[in-house]
C-alpha cells in the first residue's frame, strides 16, 4: 500500500485510471453495482414502474365507480385495488422516487464522487424491489391487503382480516421502510460530510437543504409507523392484544402511530419536489434564487409543524375539543412556510427574465394545481367543514391536488430538466407539449369533479352507489378525464424513449444552469468528477462551463489515483474544510445477498414458518457482518496528500468518520421508535378501556437489579475499550467485560420477558413483554458488537489511530445501557401504575 498519488499525464489517462477503479463490471457483474449514478437510475426506473402499476389500479378504480351499481370487480377486489393503489403510490412510488433522485443527484450537486455508503444504497435498493414485489405478487395472487392504505385496526386485526392480506402489507411495507431509513441516514451523512472543499453549509445548493431536512423528517417520522406495523403484526401473529379493546388495547393507538407518520409523509413527498422547483426556477428565470435563508427557515418550520397536525386525520374519532384546536391551528399554520416558498419562487421569476420551456410548463401546472389543493386543505383544516367532508370524495380530490400537484408535476418537470444529464441528449419537445396538456386537462377533469361528488355526499372507498344519488354523470366525466390523463402519461413515456434513442447530443449544460452537476461530462462517468472543485461562492452561482475543463484535467482535489482506491473527500460539517479522505468500497454482490436473505426472513414471517425466518435472520446478520472484511486497514497510514499541497487522514483514522455519524443518526431513529413504544404503553394505560388488568406484571427486583448492573458493566466496558485503545493500550479486557455484560443482560432480559404472565391476556402484559424484548434485542446486538471488536483487534484492524470500530461500538453500548435501564425502570413503574386501583384514571 502506498500513500503517494499516481498523477496521470493527460485528462484521458486520468479518465482511464479513475474508470478502472470506479466502473461496475458488465454482464452479471451489473448486479454488484453500488455506484450512485447506477443505483439512482435503478431506483427511479423501479419507482416509475410502480407508478405505472398504481396508475393502472387507478384506472380500474375509475372504471368501477364510473357509473352507479357497476358489477365490474365487486367490493372485495375493489378493497384490494384502492388499498394497493394508495399503498403503491405512497410507499413504492413517491418515497423511492425521491430516494433515487437524491442518490443520483446529491453527490453531483455537492461535488463528491459518491454517497457515503454505496453498499447500503444497493442493499436499500434490493430491499425496496423485493418488498415491492411481495406486495405486487400478493395482488396477483388475489391476497393483497384490502383495508385501505392506512390499515385501520380493528378492520386489519385478525378477527376481521383473517387471511394473510394484512400481513402482506405490514411485512412488505416494513421491508421497504428499511430501505427508506437507510436512505435517510445516508442522505443526512452525505450532505453533512461529503461536500466539495469550501462548500460551507450556507453555500450548499438549496436542494441539499431540502434533502437534508426531508431525510431528518424520515428519520423521525418512519419509526412510529415501523413500530405500529411490528405491534400489529405481533397482534396478528401471536395474539398480543395492543389494539384489541376487549383486552386493554385500543384501536386509536394504531391511528395515532399511523398518522404520526402519515401526515409528515405528505411533506416528505412534497419537500424534495419543492427542492427541485427551487433549482429549476432560477435556471429558467436566469436569476439566482431569492430569499435563500428565508427558504431554509421556512422548510425547517414546515418540517416541525407537519408533525404537529397528525390528529387532523382523526378529528371525528372523539378527541377533546381543546386538543383538536391545537391540531387545527398547526394545520392552518403550515400554510405560511409554504407560502414563503411560493413567494420566493414568484419573486425569483419577477426579478429574472423567465424563459418558457417544457420544465417551466410543468411548473406552471404545479402552481395552479398545488395552490388549489392548498386551498381545499385549509378548508379541511377547519373543523366544522371537516365534519361535513370527512371521508367523502372531496378529501380524495384534495389529496390528489396536493400529491399530484406537489409531487408528480414537479417530478415531471425535473425529469425533463435532468434527462439531458442522464442521457447526454436533448429533445426537441415535439411530444412533450401535447403530453403536458393532456395530463393537465385530464387531471382537472378527473379530480375537480370529485370535489363536487364529495360535496354531494359520495363517500370514499365504496365500490358502488345507488343511481338515485344522482352522481352518475359527474363520475362518468371524471372517469373519462382519468383516461385522458393516462393517454398523456403514455405520451410522456413515449417522449422520454424518443429522447433517449434519438435526442441530439450536446456538449454540456444545455439549460445554462449554474450548479455543479453540470460541470461534468454527460452522461456522467462512474466517478462523477475527475477532480473535486474548490467552492468560493454559493454553489448555485457557479460557472459550470468554465469549471468543467479544469476539473477534467485533474486540477482540483484528488485529481489522481492511489492504490486503486475509490476516494472522495470528507469535510467539516459547517465550514467545508477538507478533513478526511473517504475510501469507498468496490462493487460487490454482498448487498444483493443480504437483500435476498432479508427477503427470506420476511417471507418466513409472512408464511408463519418461524424456523425459516430465524435461520434467514441469522444468515442476514452474518452477511451484513461480512461486509466489513474489506473495510479499514491493518496499518496506520497517516495523512494523505489530497492535492494543492494539502493532506488529510483516511476516514478510518479521522475523528468523525461518516460511519460514526451514521450510527449517531441510526440511534436517533431507534430512540424515536423506543419513545413511541413507551408513549404507546402510557397511552393505553390512560385512554384504553379495560384497565386495570386483573394482575400487574413487571420484572422482579431479583432479576432487574443484576440486569441493570450487567448493563452498566457492558456500557462501561464499551467506553473504556475505546478510550484505552486511543491511549495506546490493548482494549481486549474491556471488550471481554463488555461482551460478558451484554450476554448476561440478554439472558436476564429473556428470562424476565418469559416470566411475564400470559402476554396475550391483556395489553399491559403485552407491552411489558415487548419492552423487555426490545431491550434484549439490543443487548444481543451489543454482544455481537463487542465480539466483533475483539475479532477486529485480533485481526490487526485496530490501533490508537484506527479506533473507529470501537468508537462506533461505544455509541451502541451507551445507547443499550440507557434504554435497557429505562426499560427496567419503565416496566417496573408500569406494573405499579397498573396494579394500584386508586390511581387508575
Amino acid at each position: 500500500m502506498s500513500q503517494e498519488p499516481e498523477r496521470a499525464s493527460s485528462p484521458i489517462e486520468l479518465h482511464k485510471a479513475l474508470s478502472s477503479a470506479w466502473d461496475t463490471p458488465g454482464g452479471w457483474g451489473r448486479l454488484s453495482a453500488i455506484n450512485h449514478s447506477i443505483l439512482g437510475k435503478r431506483f427511479m426506473i423501479a419507482a416509475f414502474v410502480f407508478f405505472a402499476i398504481g396508475g393502472l389500479l387507478a384506472m380500474l378504480i375509475r372504471v368501477q365507480i364510473a357509473t352507479s351499481n357497476t358489477a365490474f370487480v365487486g367490493p372485495e377486489v375493489y378493497g384490494q385495488i384502492f388499498t394497493m393503489h394508495g399503498t403503491v403510490m405512497m410507499f413504492l412510488f413517491a418515497i423511492p422516487m425521491f430516494e433515487g433522485f437524491a442518490i443520483y443527484l446529491l453527490p453531483k450537486l455537492l461535488g463528491a464522487r459518491d454517497m457515503a455508503f454505496p453498499r447500503l444504497t444497493a442493499y436499500g435498493f434490493w430491499c425496496y424491489v423485493f418488498g415491492g414485489s411481495i406486495l405486487i405478487g400478493a395482488m396477483l395472487a388475489g391476497v393483497a391487503p384490502n383495508g385501505g392504505w392506512f390499515m385501520y385496526t380493528p378492520l386489519s386485526s385478525s378477527t376481521y382480516s383473517p387471511g394473510i392480506n394484512a400481513d402482506v402489507w405490514l411485512l412488505g411495507i416494513t421491508f421497504v421502510e428499511i430501505s427508506a431509513m437507510a436512505a435517510a441516514v445516508e442522505i443526512i451523512v452525505s450532505v453533512l460530510k461529503m461536500r466539495a472543499p469550501g462548500m460551507s453549509l450556507n453555500r450548499m445548493p438549496i436542494m441539499a437543504w431540502y434533502l437534508l431536512i426531508t431525510a431528518f423528517m424520515m428519520l423521525f417520522g418512519f419509526p412510529p409507523l415501523i413500530l405500529g406495523s411490528i405491534l400489529l403484526e405481533l397482534e396478528r401473529a401471536f395474539d398480543l392484544p395492543f389494539f384489541d379493546p376487549t383486552r386493554g388495547g385500543d384501536s386509536l393507538l394504531w391511528q395515532h402511530l399511523f398518522w404520526l407518520f402519515g401526515h409528515p409523509e405528505v411533506y416528505i413527498i412534497f419537500l424534495p419536489a419543492a427542492g427541485a422547483i427551487s433549482m429549476m426556477i432560477p435556471t429558467f428565470s436566469r436569476h439566482e434564487l431569492v430569499g435563500y435563508r428565508s427558504i431554509v427557515v421556512a422548510v425547517i418550520a414546515m418540517a416541525f409543524l407537519s408533525f404537529g397536525l397528525w390528529v387532523h386525520h382523526m378529528f371525528t374519532v372523539g378527541i377533546p375539543h381543546l386538543a383538536i384546536a391545537f391540531f387545527s391551528a398547526a394545520s392552518g399554520l403550515v400554510a405560511i412556510p409554504t407560502a414563503v416558498q411560493i413567494f420566493a419562487w414568484i419573486a425569483t421569476m419577477a426579478q429574472g427574465r423567465p424563459r418558457l420551456d417544457v420544465p417551466m410548463l410543468y411548473l406552471l401546472g404545479f402552481f395552479v394545481v398545488f395552490v388549489l389543493g392548498g386551498l381545499t386543505g385549509v378548508m379541511l383544516a377547519m373543523v366544522p367543514f371537516n365534519w361535513q367532508a370527512h371521508d367523502t370524495h372531496f378529501v380524495v380530490a384534495h389529496l390528489h391536488y396536493v400529491l399530484v400537484g406537489g409531487f408528480v408535476f414537479p417530478m415531471m418537470a425535473a425529469a425533463h430538466y435532468w434527462l439531458p444529464h442522464f442521457t447526454g441528449r436533448v429533445s426537441d419537445h415535439r411530444l412533450s407539449v401535447p403530453a403536458f396538456w393532456l395530463i393537465f386537462s385530464g387531471f382537472h377533469l378527473t379530480f375537480f369533479l370529485m370535489h363536487l361528488t364529495g360535496l354531494l355526499g359520495m363517500p370514499r372507498r365504496v365500490a358502488t352507489y345507488p343511481a338515485e344519488a344522482g352522481w352518475d354523470w359527474l363520475n362518468l366525466l371524471s372517469s373519462v378525464g382519468s383516461f385522458v390523463m393516462t393517454i398523456g402519461f403514455a405520451l410522456f413515456v413515449l417522449d422520454l424513449i424518443v429522447q433517449v434513442r434519438f435526442g441530439k447530443a450536446f456538449r454540456r449544460n444545455p439549460w445554462g444552469a449554474r450548479t455543479l452537476e453540470w460541470a461534468m461530462p454527460t452522461p456522467p462517468a462512474s466517478y462523477a468528477f475527475a477532480s473535486l472543485p474548490t467552492i468560493e461562492d454559493r454553489a448555485d452561482r457557479l460557472d459550470p462551463d468554465a469549471l468543467a475543463p479544469s476539473l477534467a484535467r485533474g486540477e482540483g482535489y484528488l485529481g489522481f489515483m492511489r492504490n486503486g482506491w475509490q476516494e472522495t473527500l470528507g469535510v467539516d460539517m459547517t465550514t467545508g474544510r477538507p478533513e478526511q479522505v473517504i475510501v469507498l468500497p468496490k462493487p460487490t454482490f454482498l448487498p444483493l445477498w443480504s437483500g435476498l436473505a432479508t427477503g427470506g426472513f420476511v417471507l418466513g414471517l409472512l408464511f408463519k414458518t418461524y424456523w425459516l425466518a430465524l435461520i434467514m435472520l441469522a444468515v442476514t446478520v452474518v452477511i451484513l457482518i461480512s461486509w466489513t472484511r474489506t473495510t479499514g486497514a491493518r496499518e496506520d497510514t497517516g495523512p494523505l496528500a489530497i492535492g494543492g499541497g494539502e493532506s488529510a487522514p483516511p476516514h478510518w483514522e479521522a475523528d468523525q468518520a461518516p460511519s460514526w455519524w451514521a450510527m449517531v443518526f441510526t440511534l436517533a431513529a431507534n430512540a424515536t421508535l423506543f419513545a413511541s413504544l413507551i408513549f404507546g404503553s402510557l397511552f393505553l394505560w390512560l385512554v384504553a378501556p379495560g384497565w386495570p388488568p386483573a394482575i400487574a406484571a413487571g420484572p422482579g427486583l431479583a432479576l432487574a437489579v443484576p440486569c441493570a448492573v450487567a448493563l452498566l458493566v457492558a456500557g462501561l466496558g464499551g467506553r473504556r475499550a475505546a478510550s484505552v485503545l486511543v491511549a495506546g493500550s490493548s482494549p481486549a479486557a474491556w471488550l471481554a467485560a463488555c461482551a460478558a455484560g451484554q450476554t448476561t443482560a440478554t439472558i436476564l432480559l429473556v428470562v424476565m420477558a418469559a416470566q411475564v404472565v400470559e402476554p396475550t391476556g391483556h395489553a399491559h402484559h403485552a407491552t411489558v413483554f415487548v419492552i423487555l424484548a426490545y431491550a434484549a434485542l439490543h443487548t444481543a446486538v451489543g454482544t455481537i458488537f463487542a465480539v466483533y471488536g475483539l475479532w477486529r483487534l485480533k485481526a490487526g484492524y485496530l490501533s490508537a489511530r484506527r479506533s473507529l470500530d470501537l468508537r462506533i461500538g461505544k455509541l451502541w453500548h451507551d445507547y443499550t445501557a440507557i434504554v435497557g435501564i429505562i426499560a427496567l425502570v419503565g416496566t417496573s413503574l408500569m406494573a405499579i401504575l397498573a396494579g394500584v386501583p386508586e390511581i387508575q384514571p
Binding site: N202, I300, H321, T575, P841
Partner: protein, 119 residues
C-alpha cells in the same frame, strides 16, 4: 473534539426554537389527556378556573417564556447580514426559526385560555 461540539451545537440551534414548540406540544397534549382522565376539569380552584386550565396555562407560559428567552439569546449581535460566513448564516437562520417558533407557540396553543378542555 471541542470544535466538533461547537459545530454540532450551531446546527442544532437551527431547530432549537421548534424543539421548544414540540416539547410544549407533547407536554400540553399529554397533560390535557391526563387531566381529562382524572377529571381535573371538574375541580374548581377559584372563580371558575379549573385545575385543568391552570396547569395547562402554566405549561404554556413556561414554554412561551423558554421560547422568548431562546429567541433573545439567539438575536444576532450585528445587523449586518453577513451571510457569507457559515457561523453568521447559521446564527441568523436560527434566530429566524426561533422567532417563528415563538409565534407558532402562541398561535397553536392559544385555545387553552378559552375552550372547554375535555369534550
Amino acid at each position: 473534539m471541542s470544535e466538533v461540539t461547537v459545530q454540532g451545537r450551531q446546527l442544532v440551534l437551527l431547530a432549537a426554537g421548534f424543539i421548544v414548540w414540540s416539547v410544549a406540544f407533547v407536554a400540553l397534549y399529554a397533560m390535557l389527556s391526563v387531566g381529562c382522565a382524572y377529571g381535573w376539569d371538574r375541580i374548581d380552584l377559584a372563580g371558575g378556573l379549573t385545575l385543568q386550565r391552570v396547569q395547562l396555562i402554566v405549561i404554556f407560559l413556561v414554554h412561551l417564556g423558554a421560547g422568548l428567552w431562546l429567541a433573545r439569546a439567539l438575536r444576532p449581535a450585528s445587523t449586518s447580514r453577513g451571510d457569507d460566513h457559515p457561523a453568521q448564516f447559521l446564527r441568523h437562520a436560527a434566530y429566524g426559526t426561533a422567532v417563528a417558533a415563538v409565534a407558532a407557540t402562541a398561535f397553536t396553543f392559544a385555545g387553552i385560555f378559552a375552550l372547554t378542555s375535555c369534550y
